[in-house]
């Protein structure tokens, strides 16, 4: 990670320190450029401002609609059947569903992702397997989530995994929080692996050697020194993964949805009955409540989308905080 370098102290002689990062003031302006170059710069500005405008428009628009339509009661009442939008309840089940899916998905993705990253950086033999693994992770990142979802229907409809979802008369339903979380963890996995890897790779070799020199095994070094030292990057990866999990819709629609309420499985004990049953998340709710979905309650879709956006913004902010703290610690300066 090329951290932006702080500008050098005192005035550098003009023209001596040229671009990339520092001392922008000492750099030529665009006044001497040809017209075509200046038009190009104008295009740069135009697109930059356009990006900002789009972002501001999205946030402001959803903020306005959210404030207009979001009622605190929606957050605590589940959806129910009704003829008008005021009768059909809120989306508490969807909100809870999002939290459950996010927690379970990242709980699966994090250990596996860290494990893969550790293997890649610290072991990585045979080299052929390491190369295959890298391509695998890259491939998983490139697979459309709808394909993952379809694959999930095959796995979780198999009789052997019937205990993870609802079964009736030997037919496995295949839709459950377990099914959705497992597939969603695959969505987050590449991000976690990439970040954890980056963290491990940024630790200089002499740190490992120092640990070996005092008699620590490789495993102990990894657990006690390397993983703690790359915690900021791992946290960043987890946040990014969470963002993807929270925002994914296709997998939820295929492997969890079909309902706007929790549908616990009868005859199972407390947490399991809910986790084995179908459910919903905010993304699924927004999808179904939009004019193209089955519910068609645009006002509620706005409200849910606003809550979803707040979650995403919070995750973004968390990434920022982690990043900044990591930079402040700046452990390995060499």
């Amino acid at each position: 990670m090329g951290a932006p370098v702080a500008t050098p102290p005192a005035a550098p002689p003009p023209g001596a320190k040229i671009p990339s990062q520092p001392a922008k003031a000492a750099v030529e302006g665009s006044a001497t450029w040809r017209l075509s170059d200046r038009i190009g710069l104008a295009i740069c500005w135009a697109f930059g401002l356009l990006f900002c405008a789009i972002a501001v428009a999205i946030v402001v628009y959803l903020l306005v609609q959210g404030i207009k339509y979001l009622r605190p009661s929606m957050l605590v009442t589940p959806a129910s059947a009704g003829f008008t939008q005021s009768e059909s309840g809120g989306f508490s089940d969807a909100l809870l569903g999002t939290l459950i899916v996010a927690a379970m998905g990242i709980a699966i993705a994090l250990p596996i992702g860290i494990g893969i990253a550790v293997w890649l950086v610290e072991y990585g033999r045979p080299a052929a397997l390491a190369r295959i693994t890298e391509s695998t992770i890259e491939a998983i990142a490139g697979i459309p989530s709808i394909v993952l979802a379809l694959f999930g229907t095959v796995i979780f409809s198999s009789t052997a995994l019937g205990f993870l979802s609802r079964t009736s008369g030997g037919v496995v339903f295949g839709r459950s929080f377990f099914a959705a979380s497992v597939m969603l963890s695959l969505v987050a996995l590449p991000l976690v692996v990439a970040s954890a890897r980056e963290g491990l790779q940024s630790i200089p070799h002499h740190v490992r050697e120092a640990s070996y020199a005092v008699g620590k095994t490789k495993a102990a070094t990894t657990r006690r020194i390397l993983i703690p030292a790359s915690r900021p990057q791992i946290a960043t990866g987890a946040m990014l993964g969470l963002g993807r999990i929270v925002g994914d819709t296709a997998i939820i629609v295929v492997l969890l949805g079909a309902t706007q309420n929790f549908a616990p499985v009868e005859g199972a004990s407390f947490p399991l009955d809910y986790l084995r049953g179908a459910g919903t998340t905010l993304t699924n709710f927004v999808y179904e409540a939009s004019p193209t979905g089955n519910l068609n309650q645009p006002q509620k879709a706005y409200a849910a989308a606003f809550v979803l956006l707040l979650m995403v913004l919070a995750l973004n902010a968390a990434v920022d905080v982690v990043h900044r703290r990591a930079r402040k610690v700046g452990a390995w300066s060499s």
């Binding site: 999205i58 628009y61 990142a141 694959f151 819709t249 629609v253 193209t292």
Partner: protein, 331 residues
């Protein structure tokens, strides 16, 4: 620090066991991917086998075909597999191509702007903005598309005479190529920007300084040296964005119009207002039909095509980056 574990037992987790455990984990993930590829192709095979190459060709109404396929599985009669996916493929190509072309152009300018030309405050604003746009869930884009962009296009951009001109064929209501391409562009451009700017940042300053020392201005230097050096990153970002665009299902299911119709460029300007439905949203829309075996095979065949294009893309990207390795910048 940890004193409670007696030293003489030896390490609790000997290295070899750790290596094997992690190796097994890695193998499991690789095996999972292979299993997925094999499953998807095997499940989709009946559809390919019955249609041959005509699967990819035009002919008939796709939605009717999908319906017939679904019903044949329920009735218990002989399965029908006839499926000609061209309208869906054509729609995928148009929407992905349009969005990627626009996004590539704008993302390149924005990345250059962030790295090189923006004043400090501007790039400090732009970076979080790009990150934010990249992380907005696709349903939110879809919702805004459905409730804002589509009505706008339907009410203000499409004229009555244009609606009348294609009245017998398709109805124009705002769900259109234009809406899909616009929203998809906003979705994928930020991805490109973040990868492009990482690539531009990694360009060796010495190369740029060399160019500047020869009296080339900053604009020219950036485009001739920095952007060229960062080509591997540009390829990588584009590949990722194309993959995302091809696989985008939910947002496009919401705003592309969800009609198995192949927009016809011969219609002139009306073309961009015509609805369609790409491959991935077709799966989402017909997901309830999985219980019918022929429909199941057809949906998996679509998934196989998506998977194959994703693999092809990664391969292209890998080959292109390999060929460009001599330029020195990493992606």
């Amino acid at each position: 620090m940890e004193e409670s574990y007696p030293e003489e037992y030896g390490p609790r987790w000997p290295d070899r066991r750790v290596e094997r455990t992690l190796g097994a984990l890695v193998c499991a993930v690789v095996a999972l991917l292979l299993a997925m590829i094999v499953t998807v192709f095997v499940r989709g095979w009946p559809s390919f086998a019955h249609n041959g190459l005509a699967w990819f060709g035009p002919g008939g109404n796709v939605d009717d075909q999908l319906n017939a396929i679904f019903l044949s599985g329920q009735a218990g009669a002989e399965y029908v597999y006839t499926f000609h996916a061209w309208p869906l493929i054509w729609s995928t190509l148009l929407i992905t191509g349009g969005a990627v072309a626009i996004a590539l152009f704008s993302a390149l300018f924005v990345a250059v702007f962030i790295i090189e030309f923006a004043p400090e405050w501007m790039s400090n604003v732009l970076q979080p903005v790009v990150r934010f746009l990249a992380s907005v869930p696709s349903v939110i884009y879809g919702l805004l598309g459905v409730l804002v962009l589509v009505p706008f296009i339907g009410n203000h951009l499409v004229s009555e005479s244009q609606k009348a001109s294609v009245a017998g064929v398709i109805s124009l209501s705002g769900y259109s190529l234009l809406a899909a391409v616009t929203v998809l562009t906003v979705m994928i451009a930020p991805l490109m920007v973040s990868i492009f700017s990482d690539g531009l940042r990694a360009v060796r300053p010495g190369w740029l300084e060399g160019s500047l020392a020869l009296g080339v201005n900053r604009w020219r230097t950036t485009w001739k040296i920095a952007v060229r050096t960062a080509r591997p990153a540009i390829v990588a970002g584009t590949v990722l964005a194309v993959a995302r665009a091809i696989g985008e299902a939910v947002m496009l299911a919401m705003i592309s119009g969800s009609v198995g119709f192949a927009p016809n460029p011969a219609d002139g300007a009306v073309f961009v207002f015509e609805p369609s439905r790409p491959l991935a949203p077709t799966i989402v829309k017909n997901i309830d039909q999985l219980s019918s075996p022929p429909a199941n095979a057809t949906l998996f065949a679509i998934a196989a095509v998506l998977l194959f294009s994703a693999a092809l893309l990664s391969l292209t990207g890998w080959a292109a980056r390999r060929a460009m390795r001599k330029y020195g910048a990493t992606a």
